[in-house]
């Protein structure tokens, strides 16, 4: 057991190098590798998180799982991920991030592989919950790697690059995996199991890339900390490892962290974020099924539409920061209202608007843009503004847990609502039968749109709240 823990623990410091030119060369080389490899591998790993969304419809059509069962399985990933976000952040601080990240992604690959053989609800739910937990290894490991190799003044830029990894993963999934499963001529028409096998293979390759190219702390290579290398006196922010030296202040930090839950605005943001996550994950996990079931698109086109919304999200995230900082002098509520409306209005067009593909595509793009903006605010910026600076992390964690509980509940509730509307048409011939399922999404759609409207109202109720400077 100790040997196993040692394997994952951050390595010991090597004797410090003294050749400045060699230190500069090694730093430049590894920094370039690290930002590239965490972005690429986080994106590749994301495919193992989204695989189920693409094969949901084929699994329902084959009668293997009902929408309610699919909702239950999908929600388990989100609960596992919420738990993972909470626990893995602590673990990543003490780990060799390459091994930690690679292990998480490798386990995720194995669980995807396992999912391809499971048609038992309970087993699939357990596998998918574990997948959620192991998916939670990637983000903290990536952030720890960034803090170890990049200084405070440049980290935001590289964090932005790394954030684009979500879109790599979503693109690969909603276009690439959908291509494998969609019927010819748009796709290869492979059985649904391939929707897990290929992501699993991609994740195995990503794990290998991480082990090969991602480095442990600079000090394990005999390099100085990034702050020392950059000539920054404040070495604490980039020291790279957490030691027990600060334990004397842990109790007071914990007391401060508890104060977060006494701030009413944080509760309102948590509820607003939670309801916004309902819509976000409803579209991501049920959107392509809705587009196939109700709007009659094929699997490839439906996933392409969902990809448009996620791709527009990259711009939305960047634009929100710019708009709130430059136009409203870092006041978030006006920007929240603008981006919130950009999220809610297109939802009415998507679900109640004209049956035109171009209108649908445009609405999904605007929705994705608005959603990502409000996500950046409610899930982070606004909370950090309101919470005292030293407990900003706790505020983020509190809101994160609420958000993923909302997302998880949504998946199950949506599944139940869809299942309740089921009508089967059964064509029997001899001992065989073929079943076509019909669903009515009007109640789930009301739930999804209503959640976004509530989120907008909750966010707007904080109009007069000012952040700490």
């Amino acid at each position: 057991m100790n040997g196993l823990l040692r394997y994952f623990a951050a390595g010991p410091d090597k004797p410090a190098l003294t050749d400045t030119a060699e230190i500069d060369r090694l730093y430049r080389y590894h920094r370039r590798n690290i930002v590239f490899i965490i972005t690429l591998c986080y994106g590749l790993g994301y495919v193992c998180r989204l695989a189920l969304n693409v094969v949901k419809k084929p699994l329902m059509d084959a009668g293997l799982f009902s929408p309610e069962e699919m909702g239950l399985i999908g929600s388990m990933l989100l609960y596992g991920y919420a738990l993972g976000k909470f626990s893995n952040g602590f673990l990543a601080d003490y780990s060799n991030v390459a091994r930690f990240f690679a292990f998480g992604i490798l386990m995720s690959a194995l669980l995807n592989f396992g999912m391809s053989f499971s048609t038992i609800v309970a087993l699939s739910a357990v596998l998918w919950a574990l997948n959620g937990w192991f998916q939670g290894f990637g983000a903290p490991a990536s952030v720890v790697a960034l803090t170890q190799w990049f200084g405070n003044h440049e980290r935001g830029r590289y964090y932005g690059w790394w954030s684009s990894a979500h879109s790599i993963g979503e693109g690969l999934t909603y276009l690439g995996i959908a291509f494998l499963i969609a019927m010819p001529p748009k796709g290869l028409g492979l059985p649904w199991q391939w929707g897990f096998w290929v992501p699993a293979t991609i994740c195995v390759i990503a794990a290998w890339l991480l082990l090969r190219y991602l480095q442990d702390r600079p000090q394990t290579l005999g390099l100085p900390s990034v702050a020392q290398w950059q000539g920054n006196a404040d070495t604490s922010s980039a020291a790279g490892t957490t030691t027990g030296g600060a334990s004397h202040s842990a109790a007071s930090v914990w007391k401060d962290q508890l104060k977060v839950i006494a701030i009413p605005s944080i509760w309102v943001i948590a509820l607003a974020s939670s309801t916004m996550y309902i819509t976000r994950y409803a579209l991501n996990s049920w959107g392509n099924v809705y587009l196939q079931e109700i709007r009659g698109f094929d699997l490839f086109d439906a996933n392409l539409f969902i990809f448009l919304n996620t791709a527009a999200g990259i711009l939305g995230c960047i634009a929100y920061g710019y708009v709130s900082d430059k136009w409203f002098s870092a006041r978030r509520p006006p920007a929240n209202l603008i981006f919130g409306l950009m999220e809610v209005v297109p939802l009415f067009v998507i679900f109640y608007g004209p049956a035109n593909s171009y209108v649908l595509a445009a609405a999904l793009i605007v929705y994705g843009f608005g959603l990502s903006g409000i996500l950046a605010s409610l899930g982070g910026l606004f909370a950090v503004d309101i919470a005292p600076r030293k407990v900003a992390g706790a505020a983020m964690g509190f809101i994160g847990i609420f958000s993923y509980i909302g997302a998880g509940l949504q998946d199950y509730i949506s599944g139940v609502l869809i299942s309740n509307s089921e009508m089967k048409v059964v064509f029997s011939h001899g001992a065989q039968s073929q079943t076509v399922y019909f669903y009515d999404y009007s109640t789930p759609v009301l739930f999804w749109v209503g959640a976004s409207v509530l989120s907008l109202l909750l966010a707007a109720s904080l109009w007069k709240v000012k952040g700490h400077d």
Binding site: D61, A62, M183, P184, P185, L188, G189, L190, W194, V198, T201, V204, I205, W208, R212, E293, I294, G296, D298, S421, E422, M423, K424, V425, V426, F427, S428, H429, G430, Q432, Q434, T435, V436, F438, Y439, D440, Y441, S442
Partner: protein, 174 residues
């Protein structure tokens, strides 16, 4: 095994597995059905079902002459036998719902394309239809395939049911 060789091995295995699977599937009738469905569309039975918001289910089955004989005369003879069976109570479908639906007997009649059978059921506005059982491939052994268009208040689906396939065929055109 070096890292590079391991990487190559994974990539090649994946490629071979994918290409092998694609070759096998290319021979599959059900997978490629969409390629020739437009050509045989005129020869196969069609079933159109509409369930509206008031709970009224109307259906129309068309059995084309082309499928039932070399000439229209021989086909009409065969179709007349089917029409008789329909008139004597052979159902197009059976419904499962919370409350029983009031159903009319199938009404057969000939037109220029073949035998046309219509039927109506009134289930009521708040009576959810949970299942529609369509036994046509059992009661009409002459049929190999039925093209179905079904509309509900929420959606419309267009597909084919073939004896040779174990799943409905949703893609019917290039």
């Amino acid at each position: 095994m070096t890292d590079r060789r391991l990487f190559l091995a994974i990539a090649l295995t994946t490629t071979f597995a994918l290409s092998g699977c694609i070759d096998d599937e290319a021979m599959d009738y059900c997978k490629n059905h969409y390629r020739f469905h437009p050509q045989h569309r005129g020869d196969i039975a069609t079933l159109t079902v509409n369930l509206d918001e008031t709970g009224t289910l109307t259906s129309e089955l068309v059995l084309p002459y082309a499928h039932f004989g070399a000439t229209q005369t021989s086909a009409r003879r065969e179709l007349s036998r089917i029409a008789n069976r329909m008139s004597n109570g052979q159902k197009l479908y059976t419904l499962q719902s919370a409350e029983p639906c009031s159903e009319s007997a199938p009404s057969p009649g000939f037109n220029s394309t073949g035998l046309r059978v219509t039927a109506t059921a009134d289930c009521g506005e708040n009576n959810k239809v949970e299942q529609v059982d369509v036994p046509l491939l059992d009661t009409l052994p002459e049929l190999d395939e039925i093209e179905v268009e079904m509309t509900t208040p929420a959606t419309k689906k267009h597909f084919a049911i073939s004896r040779q396939c174990d799943h409905p065929l949703f893609r019917l055109n290039h």
